[in-house]
Point group: C2
Chain length 176, copies 2
């Protein structure tokens, strides 16, 4: 049976699922390859790809030290590239494959980008074992702001609410 | 007493504190002004400044919809600008003033950037009331991955650990 006939079988959903199961591993393998290439070129050991319908839209790796940008994690960079390529701030319909569990910054970015699903390989504990702060930062998030090591202070809330009032009143705003 | 004499009084620490107390409000006012300007130019109602020794290093506002970049929150953008200006991925010694409590993405970015302290005005509940997902995303973080609305799946951890082994073995790596 050739592929053409195969694709025209009535029960297409089962075949599509099988195709995606294969693609999932291929896509994660690409994210892993990017993480390995990244170490070799002097970046952090993390890679990611964003895919739509099983096709890669964008890929990236951790360039924090290379680009002097603490936000240049693989996931954030790949989200920015995918948005630029697709001309949108909304990646609904896309999935992210990342070689390590997203840190809180990247997980937040994934929510804001409306990615449908996250696939990851290594986890925050693995990252912690080689000196990265992912696990530490997650633990800080679990604490009330006053109990965190990072101090914060609230001031001028009344004055700041003005921008929110303007936002509410604005009729031609673009929401996200 | 003129300012010159004032600055030369022996108990300088008290005067420095008073000066900083005044500067805190000036710096937050600038973040608030940026949030208001942002609404007027079609961006989101959020502004931020990063300061070192009471002087502004970088400032930014929410450009998510303008730049088609879901990561272009005021804090992330301002961190990226400050790092570019100072030529570093480590903003130790700097503080961030943001017109709204950082969302999880931005709070994560603040940790990775090693900013000393966070000042904020509006909070996540205020942002929620005008339609932003900050509070929702924080609630998702409180859940176990399996209980979150955003699905995630772990695969190929064994293969992905290779990059972490390479990182550990690498002698000339730049840590952050």
């Amino acid at each position: 049976m050739n592929n053409k006939t195969y694709r025209h079988l009535p029960d297409k959903t089962i075949k599509i699922k099988e195709k995606n199961d294969m693609n999932k591993k291929e896509l994660m393998q690409r994210a892993i390859d990017l993480s390995i290439e990244s170490v070799k070129k002097g970046g952090g050991p993390f890679g990611a790809v964003i895919a739509k319908d099983g096709e890669i839209v964008a890929e990236g790796s951790n360039n924090v030290t290379i680009d002097c940008d603490p936000t240049a994690h693989a996931e954030v960079s790949t989200i920015r590239k995918a948005c630029k390529k697709l001309g949108t701030f909304d990646l609904s319909g896309c999935e992210i494959y990342t070689s390590c569990e997203p840190c809180p910054m990247c997980l937040g970015a994934i929510y804001w980008a409306h990615l449908d699903k996250i696939y990851y390989a290594n986890d925050r504990k693995d990252a912690g074992k080689i000196g990265f702060d992912d696990d530490f930062i997650y633990k800080e998030f679990d604490l009330k702001p006053a109990d965190r090591l990072k101090p914060s202070e609230v001031l001028m809330r009344k004055e700041a609410l003005e921008a929110f009032r303007l936002w509410e009143e604005k009729e031609d705003k673009t929401e996200y």
